[in-house]
């Protein structure tokens, strides 16, 4: 497999606060990678730096052999909140990426319609966001990121605001969609079981300062169904990661309540 992303000594300071310390990660093409960790471990900051939404303090991010600077059409970002434009229809929202790039032709329209079909929103093209449920809005959010046909999909806790059942459905849906395109995915979440279920590799971050603690290879067979969450291998992975971050999570919880 070819290298898609090469991240070297990536660091971030917010003023006096060291948010991320020297992250080194290599991502293969088509790999599904999750990032988990307690709040304040810098996982979202890490993702935003890869997206080009946040400048790094030092270090480099190289994609396909070229260093990245700023946002670009080769990466699609799926936001935690759906960030849909309320005055646009589902289709028009999903087409915003091609529109910004100045290329909305018949091809892009058809491709986006196919994507809406793929995420399970066929027939909802002309609905407005306020007419959709939270789960449906996140599907538009995903279709919108895919509409620019990015090489890398960056997902920032996309299912965090959904209820537990909808979240499980969306996880299987995401895997189904991913199996069809095999994009490289960086997926930030605080749900350990979600990370294990989706990923080839789970990056466990620690806090104070934010840093990469361990990279856990998930050797579960694909395609995966929800039933896999009840297998002992799955539970062992979740346990392993949980014990690794338990101390940090407790510290974070106490911090937040003081």
């Amino acid at each position: 497999m070819a290298r898609k992303l090469e991240i070297t000594a990536l660091s971030k300071w917010f003023g006096e606060l060291e948010a991320l310390r020297s992250i080194d990660i290599a991502v293969e093409t088509g790999e599904f990678i999750s990032v988990v960790g307690p709040s304040g471990c810098g996982k979202t900051t890490f993702l935003r730096m890869v997206a080009g939404l946040e400048p790094s303090t030092s270090g480099t991010i190289v994609m396909d052999g070229k260093p990245l600077a700023g946002p670009g059409g080769n990466r699609g970002f799926v936001f935690q909140n759906d960030s849909l434009l309320p005055w646009r229809t589902v289709l028009s929202n999903a087409l915003i990426g091609p529109e910004v790039a100045g290329k909305v032709g018949a091809n892009e329209r058809q491709r986006t319609l196919d994507l809406l079909q793929l995420v399970g929103l066929g027939g909802f093209e002309n609905y407005y966001p306020r007419q959709l449920s939270g789960g449906m809005r996140q599907r538009v959010n995903l279709a919108r990121a895919l509409a620019i046909d990015p090489d890398v999909l960056l997902m920032d806790e996309p299912f965090a605001s959904l209820d537990a059942q909808t979240r499980e459905i969306m996880q299987t849906e995401l895997l189904r969609i991913w199996e069809q395109g095999r994009k490289t995915v960086l997926f930030v979440t605080h749900q350990i079981d979600e990370a294990v279920f989706l990923s080839d590799r789970v990056l466990v971050f620690a806090r104070r300062p934010g840093r990469l603690q361990e990279s856990v290879e998930i050797k579960l067979p694909r395609p995966r169904s929800l039933a896999i969450k009840r297998t002992s291998e799955f539970i062992a992975y979740v346990d392993h990661i949980w014990t690794m971050i338990e101390h940090d999570v407790r510290a974070a919880v106490i911090d937040e309540h003081v």
Binding site: A51, G52, L53, G70, P71, G72, G73, R75, F77, F79, N81, S83, L85, P86, W87, I96, G97, E99, V100, A101, Y128, P129, R130, I148
Partner: protein, 253 residues
Amino acid sequence: MLDRLRENHLAGFLSVAGGLLFWELVSRLLVANALFLAAPSQIVYAIYQLALTGELGRHIAISSVEFIIGYLIAAVIGIAFGFGMASSVRCKQALQPWISGFYATPTIALAPLFILWFGIGIWSKVLVVIFLVLFPVTINTEAGLRTTSDRLIEMLKSFGASPSQIFFKVSLPSALPFILAGLKLGIGRGLIGVVVAELFGSRAGLGRLISQSADAFNMPELFAGVIVLAIAGIAMTAGFGWLEKRLVPWTKD
């Protein structure tokens, strides 16, 4: 359909009908003096008479021209000022004291001055309307552009959008409800401006009709002018509500 209409508006209809009846009775039985109060039936008759002679139409035409010219100029300048203030800190610093000052001042008190400067024709009234409408429009436009959601801006940035794309695709549409609210606020203020300015000195207009009727103790005609103004205000505000539902449906329900 008719049933639902009755259902939805029954209380309102009864309340208005009861109020009119009460007014009619008070005016005919209690006050019973045409120099102090006119009954609704007399007002309707006065409106009919004034319309018949063409006098009402003339007054309405003059007031409308004053209102429309002033309102349009204020809307254009107000939106432009709002844009300027939202996009440039310098511009905001320069304009803010004037806007705040004039918005808080009862500028309608300047009407006699404007009449002194520009005469009793329509232009002094146009100026009063501009002064009353301009500031709410400016303030709302600026506030609307400033409150654009950072999340939506960030979303567009993630696709590599330029500042002008962000402005036209996010900031402007999300400011639209605020701009419309400012324009709606301007209707009432503009109408007050027209009438009060006309009261201070004019040859024609609804304010003129009211003041000359008052001088002649002609209560039915005085109230005729007031009623026509009230209807104009209600109709324009309702029209704006309809426009809002059309242009910014996402802010409703």
